[in-house]
Symmetry: C2
Subunit: 228 residues, 2 copies
DNA sequence: AAATCTTACTTAACGCCGTTAATTTATGCA
DNA sequence: TGCATAAATTAACGGCGTTAAGTAAGATTT
């Protein structure tokens, strides 16, 4: 290491060529991601098909494996933008209100609205089935750790929004708006509630239109319940 | 109609034979249901496979189609017992408490416990994806009405537990325990909350063990929030 | 009791899926 | 121009839900 000779012209053109080649690769990767996003937005995560994505961009199905490890990895990559805009939505909502109760109300409404407006995305982000069924098989094979890491990935994404929620609760507890309690547990309770409403609205069990009527009763009950 | 001649012996043996044959059919049908239940309990609804069910009972895959319309119908039949025991669980919980707040607390705990104790069953009962993606295709084909009815079926099952929940809320509002509000909307808000907690616990996003710690904060916040 | 009809079930096939391995085609480099 | 390497393809495997055609056993009729 540490051989810092002045780069020859050949070396430079070689580097530029490599850069262009990598540019092409990045381009195709993003094209795949775009097509995958459209695919799963149209058909939903559970009917998402690699072969359809490939057909949509005019490549052979196996080409996708040169850019993503497998179907699940492609889906997770697809959803990363979703997590970013989700975090932004939540942050904007919280910043738009001053006192803690108003922040919670805004956060809840923003959360639910995001879910109702992006059904497939929300499903992919927050309604993935637990992989416990697969655990025995995974542990049997040698690929368990990698898969487990992939499964745990969404947890990290959630952190941003959850921190805002916990912070709002802490503030409300400190300034006397809310009664005492573990802010983390309360945050998860609130999260569960709004998530539950979105989940039902995205299932056949509750019409989305009806769900919108439930938003206010739910949020007012929760926030009222936090008060001292 | 109305030909009530005395049945000949031939007619009687014929009837008995038919009865025995139908007994066999019922038996095999239940054998399929049993095997299907074991299958989807073991692998989860999303990895449920007709062919594995067939293999488990030693019949050809297509035999199942002689007893159930398709995979979805078999799964729904599998879950009917689940709905019965669910309703019973909820009813027992509500009957075990006297005043409205205690009833709600008991109902919530029973609901969550049921979900945490029967993950695949709960998933099949309450976490089926909405079929809106398929709507265009279904409407295109001629089988839409039947499929839509099948998809709506869980709604009817829910009714029992929901009526108990609404009744408890009405009672609490009437006797002054709770503040005024539309009992149906409030019921759906409560439902969404407990459903959300179970859903998260059955997803990779929240460990079931952690979810148990959230039960009390969630329920106390909700019930406190209902009070005047 | 033999022939016919019906029922229960199977085999074969279709079109889809995710994924892997081997192979071809294109591209950069000497 | 040849060679190495990268990129993409074709072929194949095993699995899936589902349908249509075929078969073997059972019941019914004569």
């Amino acid at each position: 290491m540490m051989d810092s000779k002045p780069p020859t012209q050949a070396a430079r053109t070689r580097a530029a060529s490599l850069e262009r080649r990598e540019g092409r690769k990045r381009e195709l990767r993003e094209q795949i991601l775009r097509a995958a996003g459209e695919e799963f937005t149209a058909h939903g995560p559970e009917n998402f098909s690699l072969r359809r994505v490939a057909e949509r961009i005019g490549y052979s199905p196996t080409t996708i494996y040169l850019y993503f490890q497998n179907k699940e990895a492609l889906l997770l990559s697809t959803v990363e933008d979703g997590f970013r805009s989700f975090d932004q939505t939540i942050e904007d909502a919280v910043n738009g209100a001053s006192d803690a109760p108003a922040q919670l109300e805004a956060l809840g409404r923003a959360y639910i609205a995001f879910g109702l407006e992006n059904p497939p995305l929300y499903r992919l982000m927050f309604m993935q089935p637990n992989t416990d069924y697969l655990m025995p098989r995974l542990l049997g094979s040698g690929t368990a750790p990698a898969d487990l890491e992939a499964a745990a990935q969404p947890l990290h994404h959630r952190v941003v929004a959850q921190e805002l929620l916990v912070a709002a609760l802490q503030k409300g507890i400190k300034d006397g708006s809310f009664r005492k309690g573990d802010p983390v547990l309360l945050a998860d309770a609130l999260w569960a509630s709004v998530h539950g409403l979105v989940s039902l609205a995205l299932s056949p069990l509750m019409a989305p239109q009806h769900a919108e009527n439930v938003v206010s009763p739910l949020l007012s009950t929760l926030i009222n319940g936090l008060k001292a």
